[in-house]
């Protein structure tokens, strides 16, 4: 039998942490897209991930659609939910304040969660891994092939978003909207449409995260809240509004959680990310990359 050294184990934690961290990073990117356009923290962000996983389970594992087909359909369905969220919960609010918007997204979050429980019940669901479950041994760590899919999709998402924000007119309009909504609307940009788009985009990214992570960690109806809070932890750690910060924050948070659960206590696994969140809020609320200089280049 191969010797399982402490160093190997640490490497294993690192890989697991980066994988989970990629999911947090995607949730964090979703937070930032909506925040930058609307200054809303969408606490229902985690529900998109949950829905992505569970809808995919239904389409692929239950209805038998091939992966290549189920994937985009899932993303589209979750995107529709994101649009509904904007139209039904955010736009109707007549006196928007931080508190009312927080309450509205919490309300949306528990409605989505309850509906998911209604549809799928309380059991966790598994999804076949995209390219099998034969683990790869690398530097003594056992790596599921699915890990590469998760990290890979984070990279793809980042590249696509960069292209979107820098090369397309809509993307540039969205950036303008984030910088100065009044000026943007004077320039003829439909701000309401941009808000809808930001919710759609966030939902789509959340869905991708959910689809790719379900084969590793399963998915159940009540995962959303914790994912949202940890994703927000990643946002704050990186600096609210900063996309590179979201990625960095997500990866660091995932790694801390993985090492904390492995080396300190697995029962407190969920607490580590929250303690990091509190520590950052208390001691450096601007986050790692949230300085004035960075905010100028906060787009990818």
């Amino acid at each position: 039998m191969e010797e399982f050294s402490f160093a190997n184990q640490l490497f294993q934690y690192l890989i697991t942490g980066l994988t989970v961290g990629s999911v947090y990073a995607m949730v964090a990117i979703g937070f930032n897209i909506i925040y930058n356009v609307t200054e809303i923290i969408n606490l229902a962000q985690g529900e998109f991930v949950m829905l992505g996983g569970l809808i995919m389970v239904f389409l692929h594992a239950v209805a038998g659609l091939p992966l290549i087909l189920a994937f985009p359909i899932t993303v589209i369905l979750v995107t529709l939910v994101g649009m509904l969220l904007d139209r039904l919960a955010i736009r109707p609010i007549r006196q928007p304040s931080v508190l009312t918007l927080i309450i509205a997204t919490i309300a949306a979050s528990i409605i989505i969660k309850g509906t998911a429980m209604f549809i799928w019940g309380k059991d966790p669901f598994d999804l076949p891994a995209f390219s099998g479950r034969t683990p790869i041994n690398f530097l003594g760590a056992v790596i599921q092939p699915q890990y590469f899919w998760v990290i890979g999709f984070l990279i793809v998402t980042v590249i696509l978003l960069t292209l979107f924000f820098e090369k397309t007119i809509i993307g540039k309009a969205m950036s303008a909207c984030a910088d100065n909504p009044d000026a943007a609307s004077l320039m003829g940009i439909n701000v309401k449409w941009m808000i809808l788009l930001s919710f759609s985009l966030s939902a789509a990214i959340g869905a991708v995260a959910g689809i790719t992570v379900t084969p590793i960690s399963l998915m159940e109806y009540d995962r959303g809240a914790m994912l949202a809070i940890k994703g927000f932890g990643a946002v704050v750690l990186g600096g609210l509004g900063s996309f590179p910060g979201a990625i960095l924050g997500g990866l660091i948070l995932g790694t801390i959680e993985s090492f904390g659960a492995g080396l300190i206590s697995s029962g407190y696994k969920d607490a580590f990310a929250l303690i990091v969140l509190l520590a950052v809020l208390f001691f450096r609320p601007s986050g790692l990359l949230g300085s004035v200089e960075i905010s100028k280049i906060k787009r990818f």
């Binding site: 923290i41 508190l99 927080i102 509205a104």
Partner: protein, 317 residues
């Protein structure tokens, strides 16, 4: 001018006093006094929360933690150490205050989303501690055999007796809070809600007042937790989870958080919704709560107690 009238309070007090006798004669609502104990316990928390969120404008999504701290301190000290429940109740409030200061000093420097998320994270961490410190808390199984309350040989051992005890405390908290609101401190809190800059220019020590009101809300929640533990004689962590913090939010949003009365109305409604009226939905009641919360946020930003104002507005036009 903000002045809270005495007549409705007296009327409400009379209602609370006679209610068990009325309920006793109507079989269909015979179990209502029992529910009213829970309503009273929730009222204690929402009264503090209304002062914190509605008046001072500081968001807390972690109030369940203080409720849990009160319950667990009472349970652990009475069951493991055999101390007097009343003494434990006071210790619970002291510990809750200490935690509120520790968490509040750094948190209350934050605003808006950051404060909301910090208190949310705090609440979840405390919930995890309740689950994990099995030696003390019994973990997910909780603690049973928590003694009931008695005072000078008088046992609060029936629903009726406990009902009057809880509601006596609710009224004490209610009147205390109303007095604060109508005083210099209350004005300072409402001033902070609108503009911290202007408040401090008027000499209001903004951070001190924020901490004070946070501690006050923590003390009330802790008291409520102790009352809960001694009434049910059993607690487990699931009572103090994130969803309970959200339920508290639903209570004050539904009742209306800009008036203390709203805290009472909301606590009542949510108690009866969850124990009685939403049975039909079973565990899917969460969807109903979500819809209620969303509708209230969109259509009734001042909650149910804001309706008279809206109606008056119609007539004035």
């Amino acid at each position: 001018m903000l002045r809270i009238r005495k007549l409705p309070i007296i009327g409400f007090a009379l209602f609370i006093i006679v209610f068990p006798w009325i309920a006793g004669t109507i079989p269909a609502i015979g179990n209502y006094p029992d529910l009213m104990i829970f309503a009273g316990i929730y009222c204690l928390i929402t009264i503090g929360l209304s002062l914190l969120m509605g008046y001072a404008g500081q968001i807390s999504l972690g109030q369940a933690a203080f409720y849990g701290i009160g319950a667990y301190v009472s349970a652990i000290l009475t069951v493991h150490f055999g101390l007097s429940p009343w003494f434990c109740m006071v210790i619970g409030m002291l510990i809750a205050s200490a935690v509120a200061v520790l968490v509040g000093v750094p948190s209350l420097k934050l605003r808006g989303h950051y404060l909301a998320m910090a208190t949310l994270a705090f609440g979840i961490i405390v919930f995890i501690v309740f689950n994990e410190e099995i030696e003390w808390t019994g973990g997910p199984d909780g603690i049973s055999g928590i003694p009931g309350l008695s005072l000078f040989g008088f046992e609060f051992d029936t629903v009726l007796k406990y009902y009057y005890l809880v509601w006596f405390l609710v009224f004490a908290a209610f009147i205390f809070t109303i007095n604060v609101i109508q005083s210099r401190s209350g004005r300072a809190l409402r001033a902070i809600h609108i503009s911290e800059a202007a408040s401090s220019a008027m000499g209001v020590n903004v951070s001190r007042f924020k901490i004070m009101v946070f501690v006050y809300s923590a003390i009330l929640a802790s008291l409520a937790g102790s009352l809960y533990a001694h009434y049910l004689n059993f607690i487990n962590p699931s009572t103090f989870d994130l969803f309970f913090s959200i339920k508290l939010l639903i209570m004050i949003a539904l009742g209306g958080m800009h008036e203390v009365w709203g805290a009472i109305v909301g606590a009542f409604l949510v108690t009866f919704l969850s124990f009685e009226w939403l049975h039909f939905f079973e565990e899917f009641e969460v969807i109903v709560y979500g819809i209620i919360l969303l509708l209230v946020t969109i259509f009734l930003p001042h909650g149910l107690v804001g309706i008279p104002g809206i109606v008056k507005g119609w007539f004035r036009r």
